[in-house]
Each structure stands twice: as structure tokens, then as C-alpha cells.
């Protein structure tokens, strides 16, 4: 074992420590011991000792494995190769203990034993193995029914919140959509051919537990289009203190319905006279604040589906960006054909027009929403308008003139 005075400090606080975990593995695995040594060295030198990512993989797949090499292989031979294997997660991250044991056994045999459960991609991440171990590891995984996830300029493993399995607010079956999308886009996941990465994340309601709006190129967020269901007796129970706010998950013993719920409604569409709660549903923007505070009194409506938003990403060419509504409401029923077709159209338009390493959200901004809607074959809905147009000029398409000449009707 290497001496690691700087890393040792990280064990001293009250928090769980990855150093402690790694030391436990290091006692029986040389790569983990060298990993600690390398990290200590990086802390001292204030520079990473990982080289720029390599290209390794298994036959037939262009993604799923990320090559990693250290620039100090003589000193730390255990991490000379330290490749990452992405294992596609089950929808909602539900594993049986048997499945977890299977994965651990495979990784014990073919890698460093270090896992990242889970990476922010959604996949189960196996950290650290060598090139010769890749094919046998992959063979063992597939024999047990597992598969690799996406990496590089490919469709990334779709991921979702726990949805209907655990949550009453889920407006569609996120786990089913996630599974079906994974099956449908197998080719795009394993054989990178896009300008850059493309992520699908599915949240069951606007609380957005997988942060789809900020982390996915295609954010699928559950929503209802009818009225919030109200149980007036339960509202009174919250007001009277018999029911605790947020299911007891707040420090407050009693909810002040007027101050905590009505006054904080972002569109001010609620009113409470001490007896009855009224909601002007037309002006509700589905922020979930009232429902989250009073789960026994308020529930999402029954006409449910999802809003599709496009384009969020971390700063790359442009700054960080949140996803933008492109379809205000889509019904989400198996086999999700309209959804799959739309994603296929979008990736096709993006592949055709995008520059290398340009995310779809950046392309949408570069060419404009108008070009985007035309390119993917969507009608531009009013819900996509963020602010009223400030530019008085309008550039008509050629076909607009023709439609105008033929006596176009604006109201359908």
C-alpha cells in the first residue's frame, strides 16, 4: 500500500468516505491500491494523472467502454489500464440482491471490484480493468442477460425515475417508456453515429426526480391536462394541523395553507377562505408545489401524459441550457410510436445539420426554433413561446406566399 497522508484526511470527517471504501478494496486488489497512490500523487502535484480517454471496446459495439490510462504506468502498474465499463441499468434502478451479486462476482473476476452505483448517466459503472479482460467480462455479462450502455457520440442509456413503482404522482409509466426506448434505440446506443451524445430521461411528474429538464437532450416529464383533484376535507385537516405538511418531511408541525400554499403559487391561481380551496386550473402551470405540500389533499388530474422538452446540456459550445418545450402534451401509451418517431426525426435532423460535438439544443438555438419545427415535422405550438417576439420583421417561407395566395385560413 502507498502512503496517503492527504487522502487520509478525507476519512476524518463525519461523512461517508470513498477513501475508506477504496482502502477496503485495496487490501485485496492491486489496482485499487495503485488508484489510491495515483490519487494521492494527483493531490500533491495538483494535476490529473489520467491521460485523455482512449479507444477500447468489444467487437460489434462502438460504445459502452471508456478507455483510461495513467501517465505514470511504471510507478502505478495496477492502473496502467483502468477502463470503465458501463452496464445498462434496469428501469428505475431496481435490482434483486441476486442480480447485484451476479454483477459483483463478474467484476471481482474481471476488474478492480470498484463500482460506481450509479453514474449520473444512469448506468451501473464498473471502474477499472485492462484491455484483455474486456471481451471475457462482456461475454459473462451478456450470458446473464446484461448489456452495455451508451457512451461517446451515441444515444445514451435512457433513464427514468421510479415512476409508478413507488410514486402516486407518476403521470405515465416512466419505467416502461425507459425500457421500450432502450430496446427501440439499441443500434443507436451501441453504434455511435450522432454529432455528439443524446440523452433521454423520463420523469413521472413535474417534480422531475431525475432532473430531466437539466440533464437530458430529450426530457420527458409527466403532466396532466385536466384539473387537480381536491379532497376538501383533507385540506381542512392540513389547515387544522391534523395532517403534517409534505408527509411529515418538513420541520413545521402545521401548514399555513394561505401563506405556505396559496401565497406561494407561482401563477397565483389558488384561493382559500379557511374552508374551501379553489384552483383556477386554466392558469395552473403544474409546478407541483401545492401537491407536494398536501399530498393527501391534492392529486394530479386523471388525463395524464407527458410534456416533451428538448435541448438541455452542460456548458460545451454554448453555456448551460435547460430543455425547451417542444410538445406540450403527448399521450404516453405502449408502444409509444409517436414518441419513438419524433426522437428518430430529431436525431436525423440533428445528424444532418449538426456540427461535430454540437448538442441538439445548441443546433436548435443556432438554426432557430422555426427551422427546428420545420425540420422535424412538428407544428409549432404556442406553449413553446418563451417571450413575445421583439423583432418586427418576419421572414416568410416560399410556401407561406403560396398558401397565402391560395387563401390560407389561420384558425383551424
Amino acid at each position: 500500500m502507498h502512503k496517503t497522508p492527504l487522502l487520509d484526511q478525507l476519512e476524518s470527517g463525519p461523512w461517508p468516505s470513498f477513501i475508506k471504501d477504496l482502502k477496503r478494496v485495496a487490501a485485496r486488489k492491486k489496482p485499487a491500491a495503485d488508484l489510491l497512490g495515483l490519487l494521492e500523487r494527483s493531490y500533491k502535484d495538483k494535476i490529473t494523472h489520467w491521460k485523455h480517454g482512449g479507444i477500447v471496446g468489444v467487437l460489434g459495439y462502438g460504445s459502452g467502454i471508456i478507455g483510461r490510462y495513467t501517465d505514470l504506468p511504471e510507478e502505478f502498474p495496477g492502473v496502467e489500464h483502468f477502463h470503465t465499463v458501463r452496464v445498462n441499468q434496469p428501469s428505475g434502478w431496481f435490482y434483486t440482491t441476486k442480480a447485484l451479486r451476479e454483477l459483483c462476482d463478474i467484476w471481482d473476476e474481471h476488474g478492480s471490484s470498484i463500482l460506481n452505483v450509479h453514474g449520473s448517466t444512469g448506468d451501473m459503472i464498473f471502474l477499472g480493468t485492462t484491455t484483455p479482460e474486456l471481451e471475457p467480462c462482456f461475454a459473462k455479462l451478456t450470458a446473464k442477460g446484461w448489456d452495455l450502455g451508451g457512451s461517446g457520440s451515441a444515444m445514451r442509456s435512457p433513464s427514468c425515475c421510479v415512476g409508478m413503482a413507488r410514486c402516486e404522482w407518476s403521470c405515465y409509466d416512466t419505467m416502461d417508456l425507459c425500457y421500450e426506448a432502450t430496446q427501440n434505440f439499441q443500434f443507436e446506443m451501441h453504434r455511435p453515429s450522432f454529432p455528439y451524445k443524446f440523452k433521454i430521461k423520463c420523469s413521472g411528474c413535474p417534480n422531475d426526480c431525475v432532473a430531466a429538464v437539466a440533464r437530458a437532450d430529450m426530457s420527458v416529464i409527466g403532466v396532466w391536462k385536466d384539473d387537480i383533484r381536491i379532497d376538501q376535507a383533507a385540506v381542512k385537516a392540513y389547515a387544522g394541523g391534523e395532517l403534517k405538511p409534505r408527509g411529515g418531511a418538513t420541520p413545521y408541525a402545521k401548514l399555513d395553507v394561505q401563506a405556505d400554499v396559496v401565497a406561494l403559487c407561482p401563477t397565483a391561481c389558488m384561493a382559500f377562505d379557511g374552508k374551501t380551496l379553489k384552483i383556477d386550473n386554466k392558469n395552473c402551470n403544474h409546478c407541483m408545489h401545492c401537491i407536494s405540500l398536501m399530498p393527501q389533499a391534492l392529486r394530479p388530474g386523471t388525463e395524464t401524459g407527458a410534456t416533451l422538452l428538448l435541448g438541455s446540456h452542460a456548458p460545451i459550445l454554448e453555456g448551460a441550457q435547460m430543455s425547451w418545450v417542444i410538445v406540450p402534451f403527448m399521450e404516453m401509451e405502449t408502444p409509444y410510436e409517436p414518441f419513438m418517431d419524433l426522437v428518430a426525426n430529431i436525431t436525423e435532423w440533428w445528424s444532418e445539420n449538426g456540427k461535430n460535438r454540437e448538442r441538439v439544443g445548441e443546433l436548435m438555438l443556432r438554426l432557430g426554433m422555426r427551422a427546428f419545427f420545420k425540420g422535424v415535422g412538428l407544428e409549432p405550438p404556442p406553449q413553446t413561446v418563451k417571450t413575445p417576439r421583439a423583432n418586427p420583421f418576419f421572414f416568410w417561407h416560399e410556401e407561406d406566399f403560396e398558401a397565402e395566395a391560395a387563401g390560407r385560413k389561420y384558425i383551424k
Binding site: I55, V56, G57, G60, S153, F187, S193, E352, N356
Partner: protein, 105 residues
Amino acid sequence: MATIEYKGKTFSVDEDGFLENLDQWCQEWVDYVKDSEGIKELTDEHWKVINMLQDYYKKNGIAPMVRILSKVTGFKLKHIYELFPSGPGKGACKMAGLAKPTGCV
């Protein structure tokens, strides 16, 4: 930097087995990669891909995007994987002697 000896030739390669320098590229290199990538017989289609990659690389200094490779050769991506089982980046670019692509192909 590692070196590989094959049929009397010596090649210097990076850790992923890509040639350090396109000038070293020759028929022996193609034969060597063919064996290690599990390709049985090189056809005209393989050569079409290799030639396209080299032309593009010499002109632009980087490997082309997958879509451009598909368009110019007329081969669907699926077919490129049939020709080069480890894919256009790890298989075809390596055989063509290009420097390791950084997420392009």
C-alpha cells in the same frame, strides 16, 4: 510508446494500438490489424473505407464524422460494422493508420 514487430517491420503505436505516425502505414500494417480485429478477408469495400479515411485525414487533419464516412462510401453504418467488427473508430481508423480519433468517428 509501445512498438509492434510484424513480418519484419517495426511500428510504434500508442496505448490503444494506433499508429503514432501515418508515414509508417504500409501493407504489413493492414495485415497486422486485419488479424487482430478478426477480419477474414479484405475486400474492395474495406479498401474503399480505408482510402476514404486516409484522403479525408490528409486533407483535414482529423478523422471524419461517422455520417460523412457513410455518405461518401455509400455504406450504411451497419455494413461498416460488418466490414470492421470493432467499428469505424477502433477498427477502420486503426487499419487506415490514422491517429486515434477523439470521439469523431
